[in-house]
Symmetry: C2
Subunit: 350 residues, 2 copies
């Protein structure tokens, strides 16, 4: 479309800084004739301290009207753990039915990794995790009884539906089918979590019959972590549950240049609700306001946003700019958040 | 005590081979005056195929009479996923109240790691995970409704009790307090799994007041995986939930020489039931019977077994033998399972 009506939720900590760079690059990459409108939403720790609100209904309603959401980071140590995560970030993912949480990982040249990889192996590390985003242990089902006493019992219920699993598994097959290697790995723990695990595996196998060109594979989540560090190049597309996806994508980020580079899209593929794009990293309060945060993950999230809205050319332009920028980075010459944003904005414009 | 009445469960795949080496080293290290009695239990895939049984009551009862259990590996692709894991391995852990699942990780010199570590960092990587073993998502609570239909719902319930969490947390503080660095890290996901996570955190903080010398730390499980690959030397003792512990200890094994070296103890600290010692790796059916399995993890599990039974000198002797053996390994000259066992048996004897 020839206009983008974007909601911006900078959030907490470094969220402000990185989102500013994401918008800078977005403005720079868009052709003249695409009109960009943005509306900033004041949500996060400060709002909560001021008003006690995390995400009021009116704002949720207003957010619905946008084409997409760009989010910085949510969470602050001054707020009890879970309040903003559940009341704002997860509330958005659930309310807008973001069932595909898309997290690509690619080890660019000249990018630091804790792994001892050779050049050939490095070049082959390029995979994407399709994390389910609306079910599993993230539903908030559960509770606690006799809280705070020695007789307390606390439960967390992982809720999984065939409806929810099939749609995300199908999305993952589509993505695998569209990639050169056409390989899809299901990660679960079906030798222990037999109810959810078997349902996932059965649906995975059933939907797979519709994709004869896709090679499939199953790994228990514990074994998957081993391959993430010993043979990350074996992965192409991975589909997994909400919690396993959370864990694996931080690990994926760590081995492919760090969370400063990891982008994500919380996608509602039907288009019924706006999709939301955010760096995988958190609010990093320890470095907030110091210009030390790497905005690259946010900029790459903007690329995912553009791709989702049909601006493929611009998405690729950003990804190429990031690759070129990384290739020329000199780790001994640190740049500020702003400088990295500027450099990327210049690259995508030319 | 001057006698050890040991139950041996070789299990499946490479289980037989590695357990044989574990026993060889055990026999070699024990002083003449310690009488070793062993009884082998035929449990695992073959038994199941033959009789449909995983762990009959009579055998469970008989196992109770031993001082400890040495287990090889459980699981085979010919058996539906979950049958042996739930019906045998987890049944033992739960029936014998193995609430401390102890998994030490140490990066020995001259040992391959996928991480690009310098010598100094390598020497500092030495931590132990205290994984809760009787609760969490492993309880088998949950179920499925309308199984196999498009309307299926499958749940997995993580059950956590103050009773269960406090005892394992206390055990972890004791272990941290006895180590030079005295540092304990709690790993959970209390920003999402708020019921269980907050209970864990509250109990962790409360018990901590009794251990003023122990420095404490909290990490979300996703962030923990990052540190496992970027700064594993930051960890000393980690205490965590059953599922997070499962995931983290495979990752820990991967970064500290591979699962061929990772030992574990399923410990019932009260001594009411026999504790069980097993390598972290699985039955590896692809290499079973070929003499390719590294028995070192099983041998190190025997060291944990001896320590648990009060034979500290012999435990240390085994660990030193393994360290010496690893230091002299030449990766270009592969040895058979038997050869490694022989070499370790000779070392501990001298
Ligand atoms: C902040 C937290 C709720 C969130 C999650 O667990 O999904 C984060 O870790 C992520 O991966 O986006
Ligand atoms: C085989 C499986 C049930 C087991 C577990 O999940 O605990 C294994 O992965 C382990 O870590 O001992």
């Amino acid at each position: 479309s020839r206009s983008i009506n974007l909601a911006v939720v900078p959030g907490d900590g470094i969220g402000q800084e990185v989102v500013a760079q994401g918008l800078k690059v977005l403005r720079s990459v868009l052709p003249q004739d695409v009109k960009l409108e943005t509306k900033e939403y004041d949500l996060g720790a400060q709002r909560w301290h001021r008003t006690g609100e995390t995400l009021p209904d009116a704002e949720l309603e207003s957010l619905k009207g946008h084409d997409a959401i760009l989010l910085g980071a949510i969470g602050d140590p001054s707020v009890p753990s879970g309040v903003l995560e559940r009341g704002l970030l997860l509330k958005l993912r659930f309310a807008f039915d973001h069932y595909v949480n898309l997290r690509p990982s690619k080890l660019f040249p000249n990018t630091a990794t804790p792994l001892a990889v050779g050049d050939e192996q490095r070049g082959a590390i390029d995979f994407v995790v399709v994390r389910e985003g609306t079910e599993g242990p993230y539903t908030g089902n559960g509770g606690s009884l006799r809280t705070g006493t020695p007789a307390e019992v606390a439960t967390e219920v992982s809720v999984n539906t065939a409806y929810g699993v099939e749609r995300v598994v199908r999305d993952a097959y589509e993505r695998a089918n569209a990639r050169p290697r056409k390989k899809l790995t299901l990660v679960h723990k079906n030798n222990v979590l037999v109810y959810a695990g078997h349902m996932w595996k059965n649906i995975f196998d059933k939907v797979g019959q519709e994709y004869p060109d896709v090679t499939t594979d199953y790994l228990h989540v514990d074994a998957a972590t081993i391959f993430f560090v010993t043979q990350p190049e074996r992965f192409d597309v991975i589909v997994t549950d909400n919690l396993f996806g959370d864990i694996l994508t931080d690990l994926a980020a760590a081995v492919t240049g760090g969370i400063g580079l990891a982008a994500s899209g919380n996608i509602n593929p039907t288009g019924e609700f706006p999709s939301m794009f955010e760096p995988v990293h958190g609010s990093a309060p320890d470095i907030a306001g110091q210009g030390k945060a790497d905005p690259t993950a946010t900029v790459l999230s903007v690329a995912l946003l553009l791709r989702h809205l049909g601006h493929e050319t611009e998405a690729v332009r950003i990804e190429e700019a990031v690759a070129a920028d990384l290739a020329e980075r000199d780790a001994s010459v640190p740049r500020t958040t702003d400088e990295i944003g500027d450099a990327l904005a210049v690259r995508v414009a030319s």
